[in-house]
């Protein structure tokens, strides 16, 4: 069962491996260009494990931003994680000792897999989630360190390799679309984010988009919330 869970997790993690190595290498190169050695790449990728957070973090460090500014900006950039947790409360229930690590490692990419995947009966969810999170973490650390150590000497024409992440999200969205009868949440997500991107600009659109999406989903609750037998009794 462990072997099966690992194999399934490894298979699902392959697209993320490609994306994380690419994004991580880009990050390592950026870090070094600002004068921070690979020790910083290790430290940050191990303790933060957040793509956009770490990219922005290099700027805060290089510009010597105050701790308060650093904290506030990081909060803004990463508050979308709150919504990930909300939708994984049930799936991560009862995962015991590994639960804190699963929550710590809840990146966009890990979320996109764990929130949407349907596991067969012969796979242990707890082990699967753990392997997936740990594999992704290891890819990320490897990418960041590789970028910081070798990035400057390896003239690999890697432009565009970060499309792996985009492609993965498109695949997941297509799968959701094909396997679900209710398309309103997906449409709301895309349309609202697009409008916010145009209105608020590429730097600030995520936070308003998230809150608007949550608000819209509340407005359409009557239409979308088809009670399942287990939760239907009370209220």
């Amino acid at each position: 069962m462990t072997k099966k869970s690992f194999r399934r997790a490894f298979r699902d993690s392959l697209p993320i491996m490609a994306g994380y190595l690419a994004l991580g290498i880009g990050y390592g190169v950026l870090l070094q260009s600002k004068g921070y050695s690979f020790w910083w790449a290790i430290l940050m990728s191990v303790t933060m494990f957040a793509g956009s957070g770490q990219y922005a973090g290099v700027d805060f460090m290089a510009s010597g931003a105050s701790l308060l500014t650093t904290a506030f900006m990081t909060l803004i950039i990463n508050c979308r994680h709150f919504f990930y947790g909300v939708s994984l409360l049930e799936k991560y229930r009862g995962t015991g000792l590994v639960k804190p690590y699963l929550i710590f490692g809840l990146t966009d990419e890990t979320y996109s897999i764990t929130a949407t995947t349907k596991l067969e009966d012969d796979i242990n969810p707890k082990k699967y989630y753990f392997f997936l999170t740990a594999l992704n973490h290891s890819y990320w650390i490897t990418g960041c360190v590789l970028g910081a150590v070798l990035g400057m000497f390896l003239p690999f024409p890697s432009t565009g390799i970060d499309f792996a992440m985009t492609a993965l999200f498109i695949v997941i969205m297509t799968e959701q679309w094909l396997s679900s009868k209710q398309h309103l949440p997906a449409v709301l997500g895309v349309a609202t984010t697009l409008i916010c991107l145009v209105v608020f600009g590429a730097q600030y659109f995520i936070v308003p988009a998230l809150f608007l999406i949550a608000a819209e989903l509340m407005i359409f609750r009557k239409k979308l919330d088809i009670p399942e037998s287990e939760v239907a009794e009370d209220d």
């Binding site: 933060m48 909060l75 499309f163 792996a164 985009t166 492609a167 995520i206 999406i213």
Partner: protein, 110 residues
């Protein structure tokens, strides 16, 4: 001195990021019953958030200047099309990356 400050910054960022991830699990612990509205949001949010993440990936694309987002559009259509056809994640992701890299490096090279 600047190294000490940067080190403190990394510490602050790590704590804040962990906080954003742990907050929902602390607010709605396993022992207690999660409010129905939260369960509902948990069920519909993944669909909306994946849509948001797809748009998020294209945030740097400019449709008003060359190459007008054409490489992204072509590669995205390739990914979705092959997935509908073959239902194979690896083929669509790695094929999509290959298509995109060829487009930006060779076809639409600036």
């Amino acid at each position: 001195m600047t190294d000490v400050h940067a080190l403190l910054q990394v510490g602050v960022m790590a704590v804040v990021i962990a906080f954003t991830r742990f907050l929902p699990f602390l607010a709605f612990p396993e022992g207690r019953k999660t409010p129905r509205v939260i369960t509902y949001l948990g069920k519909v949010l993944p669909y909306a958030i994946i849509g948001m993440l797809v748009v998020y990936c294209f945030k740097g694309v400019s449709v008003l200047s060359y190459p007008y987002g054409l490489p992204e559009l072509a590669a995205a259509v390739f990914v979705a099309g092959t997935y509908v056809w073959l239902r194979n994640t690896l083929v669509s992701v790695f094929g999509g990356v290959a298509v995109y890299m060829i487009l930006v490096q060779l076809v639409f090279a600036t």
